[in-house]
Symmetry: C2
Subunit: 256 residues, 2 copies
């Protein structure tokens, strides 16, 4: 086959998937012949280019994606899907379905909340400052009454919000079930987690927007237990047997 | 510029980054002119093609990668880096640095162990059976004395192994610190987590190899507490306020 046998539609389609930006100003039909197009096939170095996102659009996309493949996919697709639509390449290259595993705190183990796992991966994809932004998102999650988001097309009506106190799925889900009076596999609890996906992805986008505008300032402060307990148990303490930022008193009793 | 001005080195380089497989049997110097090469720019549907990996090579790569960017990157780069070398495209498209955020149980929060987070993402990238394989890896992690791996070039000598009982970084690290008598930010503890990255990535590769050969059989069984406590607290129980697979007795006391 020679290149001239390719249809215009096929070339446009291929070019769009590879490097929408690179063909502007070049004869679209000979994109395959140009070294410039060849060069454009190279994947940009990490981090990938971020463009300011509409948190409401991210929230809505995350909510809908949650009902497709769960919480981690919900937030990752919420953010990366918007970037794919707004920026195009290179976000066309990544299969967002690879972030399904975090569902239910990793295939139902109830460890890390999947909405945080997916948002954090998206944040890490677009900025070298992922450490600061992810830390802020994790902290915000633990102290914020959620869900906040009201879907355009709610699957189920729910009214209760709760504060998780923890980024752990098990704690977060149980706190809401107890506050709302619904069981852990009820449609209401699932709806709550879908709305959480919207909230967490949208807040991640807000933080990334602030960072991109040079206007990010960390607001979260860790609970007192973290500094008090880690004074002895943390890296610089006499016991020194752990590290971390979770509220110790969620699982441990204080001792004298 | 015309394509003939491109050096052979440049073409080989570009072709290698885009579609190593697609140029076999084609004149390498005119790869840019062929519709076949254009077609290869399209990203394959998820899951991406898996090729049997050498667990020892995965382990060594994960260990070295851990010392570059931590535990989650260590296991993700351990597996995906080997696939990039063995399969080439499409593994050339994904920036593995995006999986740095899981370090220290997500930027030092000590939640989900980063070696599990990175391995699970790699597993989810290559198979629709990620649920089964990730579940097995998580379970195996909680019951296996680690580290097992002996690096070719160890940074630090360590001798102690421990059983985590949990996929949570905080628990896993503290158990080892207490068993080995080292502090949480000591070079020895970091070496332990580097070797864990090797162990977990290598076991993930073993499980994927078994799956690819049609020889995978789940071996992990959850501790008794999971079925006993969830009889009331799980989705189908009278309390029904949680779900999950972590050993309840790591944090809760049994009650009558």
């Amino acid at each position: 086959m020679a290149v001239k046998k390719l249809s215009r539609r096929r070339l446009l389609s291929d070019a769009g998937k590879v490097a929408a930006g690179a063909v502007i100003g070049a004869g679209i039909l000979d994109v395959g012949l140009r070294p410039r197009a060849l060069g454009a096939e190279k994947v940009p170095e990490w981090p990938w280019p971020y463009a300011k996102l509409d948190p409401d659009a991210v929230a809505e996309r995350a909510y809908e994606a949650y009902y497709e493949r769960g919480c981690m996919y919900g937030t990752f697709e919420g953010i990366v899907g918007e970037l794919r639509e707004k920026v195009g390449y290179p976000y066309t290259l990544i299969p967002t379905k690879m972030m399904t595993y975090g569902v239910g705190g990793v295939v139902g183990w109830s460890t890390l909340c999947g909405t945080l796992n997916g948002s954090s991966a998206a944040i890490n994809l677009v900025t070298k400052d992922y450490d600061t932004i992810v830390n802020e998102l994790m902290g915000w999650y633990t102290v914020t009454p959620m869900p906040i988001y009201k879907p355009q097309n709610p699957r189920v009506e729910i009214k209760t919000s709760s504060v998780s106190g923890s980024p752990i799925c098990h704690v977060s889900v149980t706190k809401w079930c107890e506050a709302a009076g619904y069981k852990s596999m009820s449609p209401e609890r699932k709806e709550r987690c879908g709305r959480l996906a919207a909230d967490v992805a949208a807040h991640a986008a807000e933080l990334l927007n602030q960072l991109a505008a040079g206007a990010f300032a960390a607001a979260y402060t860790a609970p007192a237990s973290v500094s008090e307990c880690l004074a002895c148990h943390g890296p610089d303490g006499t016991v020194g047997n752990t590290f971390g930022k979770m509220d110790c008193l969620m699982c441990h009793k204080p001792h004298g």
